[in-house]
Structures are given as structure tokens and as C-alpha cells.
């Protein structure tokens, strides 16, 4: 069980594909102009990652290591094609607004990275858990960045969620504030880079705070001994 806990922690925080490994930055920065787009791409990436990790883990003992990369790419490409066709059939408007970034999931380094680094060396169940946690970690970053940019840029949240979730989701749309002139920079690529930098900085701050707190807890015991020895 502790292995799953560790996998969860790694995927969601310590080794987060978006914030720490900085993988898949191209879709991460390009489609996070709204929460809906971020959610759509995050879900698609999660699905592909889950499928590819399971498939790679299943065939890991049957593929010669010299040709493993082409095999992984084939697996990922077929999964992406499947997801693309599914999105084309069921969420057509979102499919149009995500555009080229759905087929580009093939080139998302987070996916081939997990296949190579984890799934090709581990059994099916840990690989699946790893895929889910990494995918969720990636999706989380997409969502936070998407929310930041959408609020700053348009003053709304979940605008157009019905494209992804069906008509009921129109009720999800929240208007945080009404602005006559939109803050375009947040919607444009520079806003994505700035937002991403701020998120990474925030994560580092939290990590440092945690480390300091741990050091203080340990340090208080050590100091008791040192004082006696030194004076």
C-alpha cells in the first residue's frame, strides 16, 4: 500500500509532470486559456496516459529493448487516434476548439516519459496507478492555470463548459466580475508563461516552507545535545 501512497505523492506533487518535470509544456501553455479547454485536454491526456501505461506494462517482457521506443510510439499514437475520434464524435465543439493539440498529445513527453521510465519496468497495477496520478497531476496544473487565465482574461469560470459536459453544464458558468475590456495578455501566450512561472514559484515557496518546518522540528532535538557539548 505504501507504494501506491508514494506513487500518488510523486504524481500529484513531488514529481508533478507540469510543475517539476516541465513535460508537455506545449499543450499546457497553449490550451489553458479557459478552464473548459484545460479540462478537455487534461482528460484526453489522462485517458491516453492510462491506456499507454497499461499496454506498455503488458508487453514489456515481449518487446526487445532495441525497438521499444517505436513500439511505445505506435501504442501511444493508436490511443491518441482513438481519443481523437471519440472527441470528434461526442464533444465536437471542444474538438474544434482544441484543434491540433489533440493529435499533438502523441508528442507529449509526459506520456512517453512515463512509458519509458515507469511502465516498461513495472507490473500492470502500479503502472496504471502511476498513469492516473501523473495524469491527474498534469490535469490539476492545467485546471489551475486555466482558471487563473480565464478569471484574469474574461472574468468568468467554466465558460463554454457545455461543449464538454453537455447542456446541463451551462449552469456551471460563473461570472466572477464583469469587465468591459478584457485583459488580453492573460489569454495570449505570454500570459501562459507568466502564469506558469508564478505557479512554479508558488510550489517552490510551499516546498521551502515545508522543509523549514521539518528542519525546525529535527533541529530542536539536536540543539539540546550540542548546547551541552559546546559550552
Amino acid at each position: 500500500m505504501s507504494q501506491f501512497k508514494e506513487l500518488t505523492l510523486q504524481g500529484l506533487w513531488k514529481n508533478n509532470p507540469g510543475l517539476v518535470q516541465l513535460l508537455g509544456l506545449c499543450p499546457l501553455l497553449a490550451v489553458t486559456a479557459t478552464v473548459t479547454n484545460a479540462l478537455g485536454l487534461g482528460a484526453a491526456t489522462l485517458l491516453v496516459l492510462l491506456g499507454s501505461n497499461i499496454a506498455v506494462s503488458l508487453v514489456r517482457n515481449h518487446v526487445a529493448s532495441e525497438i521499444r521506443i517505436p513500439v511505445f510510439v505506435l501504442i501511444i499514437a493508436s490511443l491518441v487516434t482513438a481519443v481523437q475520434l471519440l472527441m470528434n464524435a461526442y464533444t465536437y465543439d471542444l474538438y474544434l476548439s482544441l484543434g491540433i493539440f489533440i493529435p499533438l498529445i502523441v508528442t507529449n513527453c509526459a506520456i512517453i516519459g512515463r512509458a519509458e521510465a515507469f511502465a516498461s519496468k513495472n507490473p500492470v497495477l502500479p503502472s496504471a496507478i502511476d498513469a492516473i496520478m501523473m495524469g491527474l497531476g498534469f490535469m490539476l496544473v492545467l485546471l489551475v492555470l486555466g482558471a487563473m487565465r480565464e478569471v484574469l482574461g474574461q472574468g468568468t469560470l467554466f465558460d463554454g463548459a457545455d461543449l464538454l459536459l453537455g447542456d446541463w453544464a451551462k449552469a456551471l458558468r460563473v461570472e466572477v466580475f464583469h469587465a468591459d475590456s478584457h485583459f488580453l495578455l492573460a489569454m495570449l501566450p505570454p500570459g501562459a508563461f507568466l502564469g506558469m512561472g508564478l505557479l512554479i514559484a508558488l510550489k517552490n515557496v510551499i516546498d521551502n516552507k515545508l522543509k523549514q518546518r521539518q528542519a525546525v522540528e529535527k533541529g530542536s532535538i539536536a540543539r539540546a545535545r550540542v548546547t551541552g557539548a559546546a559550552q
Binding site: 475590456s181 495578455l185 492573460a186
Partner: protein, 355 residues
């Protein structure tokens, strides 16, 4: 007694950062005065807003970073950034424009990179680009000079329209922009650009009332005022003459050649030098000691690069004026320029070995 060992040059300059920054800000005064007289009092209100915002955001970030607040505020660098941004934006832009811009300049462009001396980009110009990209409508609403305005604006009107989007007598900005004939006016560079894209020739466009002699009405005086302030700075040895000269010379030469080649579509060198922000940018913005090149040869290259970029963007690009973009692009090139123009150290590598 402590012996300080420092490398050459061993020259002494008694001026502190605070003193230099204050002198640069003071040298802007003639330009600010001309702008207030010819284009209305909006610029003064923008200045107050910008300086207050700059001080507040600088103090906030210094406090967060655990640095001494008061001594850093006294170096006047935040003040200068605020002044440069306030005179660069349209004087009647809504109040939140200058507040967002100044806060971005100080917090994101200056302090997040490590404060004064560590910023890659010129804070005022980075903020200007942010505003221009984000709020293109508000950032292009320049009022015509007072002599061409259809409505008389009092200082109180400036306050009203900056804070409520309407002047005290109820005119909106687009209405104020209209001249006596009811035609909406833009800056000379903008007007020329629009006219040329509509197929008019240069001469036809220049006969409009917004132009005067070889530059825009009012803009000629504005540029002359900044030129005077800039020359004063050079005389006081606050800035090096190399960057302004290189900017002006490269813009002059390029537009002189181009206007000979295409006299109907490209304005002459004098128009380029005395319209838009040429003098302000050449003397006050491009010479920022932190983000500009630091070697003598490098300064010439840096200035010439800015002139070239401005010429290209003004004539072939998507924006009427281009100093903010040109300065930022040249800022990016500065490490490379400095690397290739390192001066020879005395006693190392004879001149013949230098390429």
C-alpha cells in the same frame, strides 16, 4: 583601517544612484510641461497615479523579500520608471491602465528579477507593451493637441475623464477625440499609417490639420522638449552620447534612403525623428543603465539596432509606433552585444590578436 582592493577603472564618481535617477526624472520636466500645455493636464494626473502605485508596489515587494524598504525607495528608480511610463501612455487613459502598468513594471519586470540592477528588460517599456497588447483600444486613444480640440478641457475635466471615462461635462473619450470638423483624430503616426493603407500618398496625408510642418502638430514641440532635456543629461555626463546618437542616426539614415526610394509611401527622416516618441525613447528610455549595453562599441550597436527595429515596425509592421517593442528586442540582444564588444583589458591580448 581597511584597504579596499578593486580592479580598474579607479575613477571616482560622486553621484549616487538616487542622484542620477533624480536628475533623469528632472530632465523629463520640459517634456512634461510641454505635454501638459499642448495636450492637456491628463499627464499630471497620470504622473501622480504612477508614482503612488510604484512606491506602494515597490514597498510591498521589498517588505515581502525582507529587504530594507525606505533606503531602497529613496534610490528613486521606482520613481523614474513611474515617470517614464506615465508620459508614454495616452494622457487621458482610464486610471486603471496606469495602475496595472506601473504595478506590473515594478513587481514583475523589476523586483521578480531581483530588483534594481538585475532586470533584463526596461520595466517601463515592458509595462507599456503589456498595456498595448492587453488594452489596444485604451492605449491608442490619444487626444488631438488642444489647438485642434473641439471641446475645451479644464484640469477638472482631466480628473473626471481619467476616473469616470467621461469628462465633467459628459463627453466620452471618442467624442473628445473628434476635432472641430467632427472627424476623430489619432496621433500623427497613426493617421499617416491609416491614410497610407487607404491608398493616399504621403503628401495628401500630410496636408491634414494633425500635421504641422514636417511633424505632427504639438508633437514637434514635445520632441524638441525631450531633446533639450536629453542634451542636458549628456552635458551633465549622466548618460553616454553613444546610445541616443546611434538611435537617431540609424533611424535618420534608414528613413532618408527609404524615402528616396519610395517618396510616396515612406515619410522622411525629419518626420520620423520628430513624431511619436523618438526623442523620449532615444535619450530617456534606451539609455537605461541596467538594461542597455554597457560597452562603448556595444552602445552604438544597441542604439543602431533600436533605430533599425523602429524603422521596420513603423513602416512595415503592425503598430504605428514601436519604441517599446524595439527597446525590448534590443534588451534581449544585449548579452550577445556585450559579449562580442568586450573592451581589451590593458596588458592582455595585443590588439593584433583581437578580431
Amino acid at each position: 583601517m581597511s584597504f579596499k582592493i578593486a580592479s580598474s577603472p579607479h575613477q571616482h564618481n560622486q553621484r549616487s544612484t538616487a542622484h542620477i535617477m533624480r536628475l533623469v526624472a528632472l530632465a523629463c520636466l520640459p517634456g512634461i510641461a510641454v505635454q501638459a500645455v499642448l495636450f492637456g493636464y491628463g499627464v499630471l494626473i497620470q504622473l501622480v497615479l504612477a508614482i503612488v502605485t510604484a512606491w506602494l508596489s515597490e514597498a510591498l515587494i521589498l517588505k515581502l523579500r525582507g529587504k530594507p524598504v525606505l533606503s531602497r525607495l529613496k534610490d528613486n528608480s521606482a520613481l523614474l520608471t513611474a515617470v517614464l511610463l506615465a508620459i508614454a501612455i495616452p494622457p487621458y487613459a482610464p486610471w486603471w491602465i496606469i495602475v496595472i502598468g506601473t504595478a506590473f513594471a515594478i513587481i514583475m519586470v523589476k523586483q521578480l528579477y531581483g530588483g534594481l540592477g538585475n532586470n533584463l528588460f526596461n520595466p517601463a517599456m515592458a509595462a507599456y507593451v503589456l498595456l498595448l497588447v492587453s488594452f489596444p483600444l485604451q492605449m491608442t486613444q490619444w487626444l488631438p493637441p488642444l489647438s485642434l480640440q473641439s471641446v475645451d478641457l479644464t484640469p477638472l475635466d482631466a480628473v473626471c475623464s481619467i476616473f469616470t471615462h467621461y469628462s465633467c461635462s459628459g463627453f466620452s473619450l471618442p467624442q473628445l477625440q473628434a476635432n472641430i470638423d467632427g472627424i476623430t483624430m489619432a496621433t500623427p503616426l497613426d493617421t499617416l499609417r491609416t491614410d497610407l493603407s487607404r491608398g493616399l500618398t504621403l503628401d495628401e496625408s500630410l496636408s491634414r490639420p494633425v500635421f504641422f510642418a514636417f511633424a505632427g502638430t504639438g508633437w514637434l514641440w514635445l520632441n524638441l522638449a525631450y531633446l533639450a532635456g536629453g542634451l542636458l543629461l549628456i552635458q551633465q555626463k549622466i548618460i553616454s552620447w553613444r546610445i541616443p546618437l546611434a538611435v537617431i542616426a540609424s533611424l535618420f539614415v534608414l528613413s532618408a534612403i527609404a524615402t528616396l526610394a519610395a517618396p510616396d509611401t515612406i515619410a522622411g527622416p525629419l518626420f520620423h525623428l520628430f513624431s511619436g516618441g523618438t526623442m523620449l525613447a532615444a535619450f530617456f528610455i534606451a539609455t537605461d543603465p541596467v538594461s542597455a549595453s554597457t560597452t562603448n562599441k556595444g552602445r552604438l550597436v544597441y542604439g543602431a539596432l533600436i533605430g533599425l527595429l523602429v524603422f521596420l515596425i513603423r513602416n512595415f509592421g503592425g503598430y504605428p509606433d514601436a519604441y517599446a517593442f524595439a527597446v525590448l528586442l534590443a534588451n534581449m540582444a544585449v548579452p550577445l552585444i556585450d559579449y562580442y564588444t568586450r573592451p581589451r583589458t590593458y596588458g592582455h591580448r595585443p590588439r593584433s590578436e583581437l578580431k
